[in-house]
């Protein structure tokens, strides 16, 4: 019958259309709506008493995976993890940092001068900076190991899956994102749990947008100097911008770079266990050791290079305007003109930031020859920065490139140079565009 054929054709078109919109079979959507209707009716019609008795681990699971409680519980756990990590590590970091400063000061005295400078300023200064991050990173790994061994992580990924699905990511992508707030290196390594190659790649690519701990000194310094009354808010806005852009880039990447359906969520939930100290330490070392080895080798290499550039030509002021790196800085500086900070000091600092983002601040300190306290004033007066420029600079340093160690990690985890290169590329472009937009639009609006 002719009508029947037509009906079937319309049906096929309808199914294809619905599939393209919802990313799911019409059948699933229809079933979903039916359940929704039933839910609605029952909400109005039935009053149930409190949760019924269950086995204790099932009971815990019901709560942790529960639609309404799951996310707040997860946030609380994450908050606790960060508090643990950064509170405990702060004194340790200061101690290590002071230790390296001490050794560096002694080393600079070694003769010949150039050797002293290489070891003191270069290697110990550069590598030492990175090593001061051992405490927070290792503590973070301990916290993660505890959460994983106890079995909680699996439930957390499960809880987050629904939310992540909405932005085109996977439940398992959420944890690396959170870890990225501490340090991008363990975060990217944590993407190993994502089976789907596409999902994993996207998670890795956007991870550097999560503002890592190394960038915090930059924000604190500049926010404190230029936005004294709104310090906290400004720092928070950096994190927020990072998150928003990460979500945006995830959507863009999923659409144009790596299209494809999101992997289905099936996951083994290990039973709840009490983590053992040995187990935790072993896991911590497994991850931490990679950080030390990989970060160490590449950084040592780059540090020496930077030291070379800062010390040549011989006898020049270390990292001064006439050194090679100063020349380099003055060469690059014009690029930052539209962003508002086209000065060689800013360019050089950002360049050093490639090593490790903390060095941006350290470099500025060396250039202006002041300790961090007076740095804000020095920048404001000598470079003529306004709050708008400072904000633009902060956004740039948030976005511009991942540090060398992170680049090395991306290379290791993706097994190619293509992706780290791509990350560097897109981040540079993104950073420049955002900083320029902020500065130019801010100028137009008369914000300074």
């Amino acid at each position: 019958m002719l009508t029947n054929e037509e009906i079937l054709r319309v049906k096929d078109r309808a199914l294809a259309h619905l599939r393209s919109i919802y990313g799911d079979d019409a059948e699933t959507i229809i079933a979903d709506r039916r359940y929704g209707f039933i839910s609605g009716v029952l909400k109005d019609v039935v009053k149930k008493p409190a949760i019924e008795r269950l086995a204790w681990s099932d009971k815990i699971d019901r709560v942790i995976v529960n639609r309404w409680l799951g996310i707040p519980i997860f946030l609380a756990v994450m908050y606790g993890m960060f508090q643990f990590t950064f509170t405990l590590s702060a004194p340790l970091m200061d101690w290590i940092s002071a230790g390296f400063d001490f050794i560096a000061a002694r080393a600079v005295g070694i003769s010949p001068d150039w050797l002293g400078s290489l070891i003191g300023n270069g290697i110990i200064g550069g590598v030492g900076t990175v090593l001061t991050f051992v405490p927070p990173i290792f503590l973070l790994f301990i916290a993660i190991a505890v959460l994983e061994d106890s079995g909680y992580m699996a439930r957390a990924a499960f809880v987050m899956d629904r939310l992540m699905h909405k932005i085109g990511l996977h439940g398992r992508s959420f944890i690396p994102m959170i870890l990225g707030f501490g340090c991008n290196i363990p975060a990217i390594m944590a993407t190993r749990t994502i089976e789907n190659r596409r999902d994993r790649l996207i998670t890795i690519l956007i991870n550097p947008l999560m503002s890592c701990g190394a960038r915090l000194p930059i924000y604190i310094l500049l926010a404190g100097a230029f936005f004294p009354a709104y310090r906290g808010l400004v720092v928070f806005s950096m994190y927020l911008i990072g998150i928003i852009l990460a979500i945006l880039m995830a959507l863009i990447f999923r659409k144009w770079l790596l299209p494809g359906p999101i992997g289905h969520f099936v996951m083994e939930l290990p039973p709840y266990r009490l983590p053992t100290i040995t187990g935790v330490l072993v896991h911590m070392w497994e991850r931490g050791k990679h950080f030390l080895i990989k970060a160490g080798t590449i950084i040592a290499g780059v540090v020496i290079l930077v030291w070379l550039l800062s010390s040549m030509p011989w006898g020049v002021q270390y990292a001064g305007p006439d050194s090679w790196i100063g020349y380099l800085g003055r060469l690059i500086a014009p690029i930052f003109g539209p962003c508002g900070f086209g000065q060689w000091q800013a360019a050089v600092s950002l360049f050093f930031g490639l090593l490790a983002k903390e060095t941006v601040v350290g470099t500025m300190g060396a250039i202006f020859a002041v300790k961090e306290g007076g740095l804000g004033v020095a920048i404001a007066s000598q470079l003529g920065w306004t709050p708008l420029i400072a904000f633009s600079f902060m956004v740039f340093s948030l976005l511009y490139v991942p540090c060398v160690a992170t680049i090395a990690t991306i290379k290791a985890e993706t097994n190619s140079w293509k992706w780290p290169a791509f990350t560097v590329g897109y981040e540079l472009v993104l950073a420049w565009i955002m900083a320029t937009l902020i500065y130019q639009i801010g100028r137009l609006l008369g914000l300074g």
């Binding site: 029947n4 229809i30 009053k47």
Partner: protein, 227 residues
Amino acid sequence: MTKKLNIALVGNPNSGKTTVFNNLTGTHQYVGNWPGVTVEKKEGTCRYQDYQINVADLPGVYSLTAYSLDEIIARDFIVEEKPDVVVDIVDAGNLERNLYLTIQLLEMGARLIVALNMMDEAGGRGYHIDLEHLSYHLGSPVVPMVASRNRGTQELLGQIAKMAESRVRPSGLRIDYGREVEQEIRKLDDLISQSALSRLYPARWLAVKLLEEDEEITKKFKEGNVD
């Protein structure tokens, strides 16, 4: 003069359907086979006022898709035999799951009475169910029962008689499937209304079934069969 009524019992397995059947038919039941298949068919009779009621016990099902023989049998019976009343036995302690079948029956346009069974257990667990509201939302009468103690049987029979007398055609439950899906349903509905199949089944129901890629219904359209 006795009036004859044909009714069918439907519901989830373990909802107490068999007990209700036994309460209604007592010793007046016999077991056979559904034609052409090895699925057991139970039928019986019962008297109420001046009615002689034929009761068909359909296989226990959770849904009316075309995946299992049971579902196909249940569905076909309701559509082809057109019982005067369909009684859906629902486990009050498991409403979410049981209602999934109920709303499919309602979407089909069946003349439905919901028999809310195992009320004692639900009450024991602390549930409180507002029967009037439930009936309002579903657009169908709701009869509370505790079939294991033969409670509610008379009320059920009363409702069955009442529905049989009423000439009102059920309008069929309309669930909003969302704008996109509804648009597609409308398109199909218009075309289906011109097809022969719409004389047997509600057009909207057929449209939804097609979108659900229901094998049986799709096959019927492909073959162009009306029976």
